[in-house]
Subunit: 114 residues, 2 copies
């Protein structure tokens, strides 16, 4: 198992963030993680919006979000807990994540974006 990659704030790339959030399924995952009261485990995320996401696909989605710098994953025993890095991203690219979630109709006030 390779170690997880979490880019430093100064290494965040707009193109990676935009690409990660150009997929509605990843946006749903990210919004869930950024939302309040989510455990952010893959199990909790595998059935968003009615479709069951295969776990290999979900793992790839998480990797894309992680390597874009949007979420941070930490192993806790057998499970992985994911939480958003909105505040760090917002420091680097002010208003970006909030504007994107807003465009998708995911009000930033339900998350910690912005």
């Amino acid at each position: 198992m390779r170690p997880l990659i979490h880019p430093a704030v100064e290494d965040l790339k707009p193109e990676a963030i935009l690409y990660a959030l150009s997929d509605p399924e990843r946006v749903a995952i990210f919004a869930q993680i950024a939302g309040v009261g989510s455990t952010g485990t893959c199990t909790a995320l595998s059935n968003l919006g009615g479709r069951v996401i295969p776990k290999s696909s979900l793992s790839q989605h998480m990797k894309v979000l992680r390597e874009a710098g949007l979420i941070r994953g930490e192993r806790h025993g057998v499970e992985m807990r994911n939480h958003s890095r909105c505040q760090e991203v917002d420091k680097r690219f002010p208003g970006l994540v909030a504007a994107i979630l807003g465009a998708y109709g995911r009000p930033p006030e339900e998350t910690n974006a912005g």
Copy 2:
């Protein structure tokens, strides 16, 4: 030659906009078009940032930007003039384009974004 497709404001999709702007080459093209004093023709856009973009690739990039609703293309005689639809997009998704261009280090004040 198929007619050009320009989605109506109410049909704009965030995922298409994010995808279109997740490629730095397309961002450079879009910023050039959104910038002041650009003719917006393909010829004027084929040599941005030092690399010569093959014209078939450029045509595809323009199509992606057009169908995302970010630019509008109009035939004028033999050439195509492209101009940005920032103001329309901003009405639908306030602050989105400005935040994205800002993240790429393309100050919105040099364009008509936002």
